[in-house]
């Protein structure tokens, strides 16, 4: 029974998403909130955590693999390896700490450098800790304009109050099912004359378009 199940799981489409951001901005908190609806109070620096979740996307189950990375500079050296394996990236910063916002640009640079061979990398900028409005250091307009400059979406969330976590989840999924995989699928369909596949492809296109608009 277990064997069957794991087999069916492995056959599902898998999308790898990586949480990137400075230390203490709440990447793990956000991940755990997304995964388990749970807010972790105590701070424990992450090294590298793996999470996998099944989500239903347009009636179809897909698996999203989330890699929660370490934000501390101590681990900067090993980031390249992580980034190489990722398909979509979530640039997380804390709105109460401007440095963490400026760091996202560096992270983005690093990602682009590592994935230089790819023309479009799915990215999402996430401003966390939106519940601490009184300690805000990063104006929302600034974050938004930056995101626009990069041509990506910007979401403000709070892992503590779960504000916008659902939106975050949607964006996360949209990032996961990125344009790259759609094009991959298109290439695949172009060769064969599989109507069902073409239909699925069109549906996925429609969804991703609606998600990104």
């Amino acid at each position: 029974m277990a064997a069957n199940k794991s087999k069916s799981q492995s056959s599902l489409a898998l999308h790898k998403v990586i949480m990137v951001g400075s230390g203490g901005v709440g990447k793990s908190a956000l991940t755990l909130q997304f995964m388990y609806d749970e807010f972790v109070e105590d701070y424990e620096p992450t090294k590298a955590d793996s999470y996998r979740k099944k989500v239903v996307l347009d009636g179809e189950e897909v698996q999203i693999d989330i890699l929660d990375t370490a934000g501390q500079e101590d681990y900067a050296a090993i980031r390249d390896n992580y980034f190489r394996s990722g398909e979509g990236f979530l640039l997380v910063f804390s709105i109460t700490e401007h440095e963490s916002f400026t760091a996202t640009a560096e992270f983005r640079e690093q990602i682009l450098r590592v994935k230089a061979e790819e023309d479009k990398i799915p990215l999402l900028v996430v401003g966390n800790k939106s519940d601490l409005e009184e300690r805000r250091q990063v104006p929302i307009e600034e974050a938004r304009s930056k995101a626009e400059e990069w041509g990506v979406q910007y979401v403000e969330t709070s892992a503590k109050t779960r504000a916008n976590v659902d939106k975050f989840a949607t964006c996360l999924i949209s990032v996961a099912v990125d344009s790259r995989s759609i094009w991959k699928m298109y290439e695949y369909i172009k060769d064969g004359t599989n109507d069902v596949m073409l239909w699925k492809f069109l549906r996925v296109c429609a969804i991703s378009v609606s998600l990104k608009l």
Binding site: A2, Q9, E38, T46, D49, S50, Y51
Partner: protein
């Protein structure tokens, strides 16, 4: 084992890689209900249960172990959910590469993992054991690549706790840039530390000096004692003595405590026994409990207990248990027999049967109790049916006057259908024109009808349950899940055989039902040998058509109810056949009864004539037939699945013959009526319908019917019959789908016409003969001679008399039926004219006056009855005139004219009747 929860699923691991003994947080779903529920945890194939700390159903913290695989799943096993799966994996890093003092990309816990196995809560800080900086000088990490160092010192290690510690490596790694001064200082540090350590142990001895001294004293005391014993040498060696002493001490202790120990042992064993009794109380009490529960009827409890006992002690080796279990088995065996007896007991409800069958199958009873029950049920139904019949037959024989007590068997299980049925039946009877008798009829339901009702009711109340039992038997719902497995093989083996058997059973029941009904109602349709079994009804009289129709209704409803049970049609074919036979029988009987009734109709003739010249007889006849057809309506109708009654040519022929005979009987009746002697006619009740707009009503004040009048009435009825009634009846026949209507109409019309003709001729004979006979004497009255007579002065009396007679006939006919007038009169006129012409032709010669006289009279008669002249009478008149010599002069002609006019004017009043008739004729 039932799984109340989903298997565990690990969806997150933090961190996802690390060296052995790394602390990891596992997250996921269904990771157990509590610390006790968690019974297994492996990471990369290594069992980590020992270090696992259960936090919540979605979180477990543990430490990874030293596994062979370097990458693998995290498998959580719980009692409640079983073995789980994981969607994430852990990567185990080589511990050699990350020493305690190495910098690592991943987190390395600083706890003392060597002590983790024994007691993870009492971790000693590793620094206290192994100072991170043994040299006591500042460590400056070199940028020397680890790999190069490994190549420089193969098989060595920078870890100063390891056996192959290489000081050079350590120095290169940690102090490559340290100055010599510093290193010197480090040496002194090291020395100081070493000193500190040796000083430390000395200090420990100092602190516990008194204890050391005490130990020293004790040791020397023992030594002295031994020395002393050794010098005395009392017996054997010193050790032997010591041994003896010890043994004695032991013995003394034993004797001291023996009693206590013995008591304790006894108490222990008693307690043990009590424990056993308590623990196996269930088994020991079971026989009694079973007995009690059987008495209470709690079979479910018994079965449960039995199952439990069976699984617990069925294969026990313990003697006591065996004994008790055997006891239980005998009780259960008794219960099985009891249940089987109860199951086969009749009558019982379906619910009870199902219950008992389930119990039996739960108790693993041998054989196939359900099938036995079906068999018993089948036998019981048959027996019920037969006893029902016997009861009615006995009742009929014994007390024919009394009501059957079985009629009042309105038990609660009486199906609704029958209630409805009796209602419709009584309604039907109420609508019949014998409604006056209805009340008495209801209570005088013929025995056989009551029997059929009872029998069908019986079948309808029993068969559905029987059928349902079978259905449940087939689909296995009779058996509980556990018992099913054991019985499955045997049952499936037999299933085909069983199906055939059951089909036979149903067919047998059906045939029995059909045969019993046939025996009661259609005794001729069952074979000779079965008469005694199914028949035995000593009834001479045939059931009336209405009762038959009622029975048909009952049987039809039965059929419908049986079809509603989804019993296959082929099994019900016999009933269908029975219905058809009954219907045919009913039609025949009804028609026969109608014939009887028609025969009696003649007695009902009241001779009251309406203004159409009819009595009520034709109407009654029509009503009679219509009524009987009406009562057959339901019978003739084809219900779904039924064939037409007239399907078989034989039946068709028979029905046709019966219809014809009905018609003929009526015609015969009419004939009888017309020829009945006068004396028989009871005229006392006769009266004139005053209200009728009969013109001649007043004339018939002292009306008494003569045979001629009756003849006329019948004749008029015949006409009506021919023109209306028979056509109507044919229409009715058509409406009820009778076959061969044309033939019926044709034959009956023919015989009617024949009768009509006969009667008419009779009447004409009766009427015309006296008139015709009186002509000749009238002509020659007073010795009249055609050759010698006076010139005519007018029409002579004989002719007037004849005319008056004709008028009388006219009046007679007119009172009965205006329509018959022309027919009768023309015939009479024909006869008269024929006679006249014969007489004229017989005259040898006429004088002039005689010829004139004759011509006058002939013309007078001819003109008078001109309305009723037929070609025959016309030619007769012509012949009569031709026999006369021609008129010689115009004066004669004039005289003739004059005399004719005179006659007409003098007889004007009498002659108007002919005109009146003609005018009425015109009108009609």
């Amino acid at each position: 084992m039932s799984r109340s929860r989903q298997p565990p699923l690990v969806t997150g691991i933090s961190p996802n890689e690390g060296i052995p003994w790394t602390k990891v947080t596992i997250r996921g779903e269904n990771l157990g209900t509590g610390p006790i529920d968690l019974i297994g945890l492996t990471i990369c194939g290594h069992n980590c249960l020992l270090t696992a700390e259960w936090m919540s159903a979605s979180k477990i913290v543990c430490r990874v172990g030293q596994a062979k695989n370097d990458k693998g799943d995290i498998i959580v096993t719980t009692k409640s959910g079983g073995k789980g799966t994981s969607t994430v994996s852990f990567k185990l890093l080589k511990p050699e590469k990350i020493g305690l003092l190495d910098q690592s990309a991943v987190w390395v816990d600083e706890m003392n993992y060597y002590d983790m196995r024994t007691d993870r809560n009492k971790g000693i800080p590793p620094l206290s054991l192994r100072p991170a900086n043994p040299l006591g000088i500042e460590i400056e990490k070199s940028k020397f690549p680890q790999k190069d160092l490994e190549m420089l010192f193969p098989g060595m290690s920078a870890d100063f706790t390891s056996e192959n510690f290489s000081a050079a490596w350590y120095l290169i790694e940690n102090h490559s840039t340290t100055s010599f001064e510093q290193l010197k200082m480090a040496v002194t540090n090291l020395k100081r530390q070493a000193n500190k350590k040796s000083e430390g142990s000395l200090a420990y001895v100092k602190g516990g000096l008194s204890t050391f001294f005490e130990a020293q004293d004790a040791l020397s005391a023992i030594h002295q004692k031994l020395e002393a014993d050794g010098t005395e040498k009392v017996e054997g060696s010193m050790t032997q003595k010591l041994e003896n002493v010890l043994n004695r001490a032991s013995n003394t202790a034993d004797t001291l405590f023996q009693e206590v120990l013995g008591r304790k042992d006894k108490a222990d064993s008693t307690r043990n026994a009590l424990n056993v009794l308590q623990r196996f109380k269930f088994l020991f009490n079971l026989p009694l409990n079973i007995e009690r529960n059987i008495q209470k009827g709690d079979y479910d409890v018994v079965i449960n207990d039995y199952e439990k006992a069976k699984s617990l002690f069925g294969k026990t080796e313990v003697q006591v248990f065996k004994k008790y279990y055997a006891e239980v088995e005998t009780r259960i065996e008794d219960l099985r027999e009891l249940l089987l007896a109860k199951l086969l007991e009749t009558p019982s409800t379906l619910h009870d049967q199902k219950r008992y069958i389930r119990y039996l199958s739960d108790l693993h009873a041998l054989g196939d109790p359900a099938w036995q029950c079906i068999g018993a049920q089948h036998r019981w139904i048959l027996q019920l049916m037969h006893s029902c019949k016997e009861g009615y037959v006995q009742d009929l024989k014994g007390a024919p006057g009394l009501h059957s007590p079985m009629l009042d068997l309105d038990n609660d299980t009486r199906p609704l259908v029958l209630g409805h049925l009796s209602q419709t039946a009584s309604l039907k009877r109420g609508s019949s024109f014998q409604s006056g008798r209805d009340d008495t009829w209801r209570y005088k339901t013929p025995h056989r009808v009551a029997f059929v009702e009872k029998l069908t009711k019986l079948v309808l109340s029993q068969l559905p349950n029987f059928w349902k039992l079978w259905i449940s038997y087939v689909n296995g719902s009779l058996f509980s899940e556990t018992a099913e497995k054991s019985g499955q093989i045997e049952r499936s083996k037999n299933v085909r055989q069983r199906q055939n058997d059951f089909k036979k059973m149903i067919q047998e029941v059906m045939q029995c039902l059909v045969k019993l009904i046939r025996g009661a109602l259609l005794p001729l349709s069952i074979p000779e040998c079965g008469v005694r079994q199914y028949g035995g009804w000593e009834v001479k009289s045939e059931l009336s058509g209405q009762w038959l129709a009622h029975v048909i209704q009952t049987v039809r409803l039965t059929y419908e109810s049986l079809t509603a049970l989804e019993i296959p049609n082929d099994m019900l074919q016999t009933i269908q056949d029975l219905i058809l036979d009954l219907r045919v029988r009913c039609v025949t009987v009804t028609l026969q009864h109608t014939a009887e009734e028609i025969k009696r109709l003649a007695e009902k003739e009241d001779w009251i004539v309406d203004n159409e010249g009819l009595t009520s007889l034709p109407c009654q006849f029509e009503q009679c037939i219509v009524h009987s057809l009406q009562s057959l309506k339901g019978v003739l109708e084809c219900k779904p699945g039924e064939a037409s009654v007239f399907q078989q040519p034989k039946t068709q022929e028979e029905v046709c013959q019966l219809s014809i005979s009905i018609m003929q009987i009526f015609i015969y009746c009419l004939e009888q009526l017309s020829t009945k002697p006068d004396a028989d006619v009871d005229t006392t009740h006769l009266s004139i319908d005053v209200s009728s707009p009969d013109l001649f009503g007043s004339i018939h004040e002292d009306f008494s019917l003569t045979s001629e009048q009756r003849l006329l009435i019948v004749l008029s009825n015949c006409c009506y019959l021919e023109r209306h009634t028979f056509l109507n009846i044919a229409e009715h026949f058509e409406k009820h789908n009778f076959q061969g209507i044309e033939k019926i109409t044709q034959v009956s019309m023919a015989s009617l016409k024949e009768l009509d003709q006969r009667l008419f001729e009779n009447y004409i004979e009766l009427k015309a003969d006296p008139i015709v006979g009186s002509l000749e004497p009238g002509i020659y009255a007073g010795y009249f001679d055609w050759k010698d007579c006076l010139p005519p002065t007018g029409v002579r009396n004989y002719l007037k008399e004849a005319l008056v007679n004709i008028i009388a006939v006219h009046a007679e006919v007119f009172t009965i039926s205006k329509e018959l007038v022309p027919r009768v009169l023309s015939k009479v006129v024909e006869a008269v004219s024929e006679e006249l012409s014969r007489l004229m032709q017989c005259v040898s010669s006429f004088s002039k006056n005689g010829a004139l006289q004759a011509r006058l009279e002939i013309c007078a008669l001819r003109d008078t009855v001109a309305v009723h002249l037929t070609p025959e009478s016309k030619s007769s008149f012509k012949q009569a005139l031709e026999a006369l010599p021609q008129l010689s002069s115009g004066a004669d002609k004039k005289l003739l004219e004059e005399l004719l006019n005179k006659f007409k004017s003098s007889m004007h009043l009498q002659l108007t009747c002919f005109q009146a008739t003609s005018s009425t004729m015109m009108k009609t």
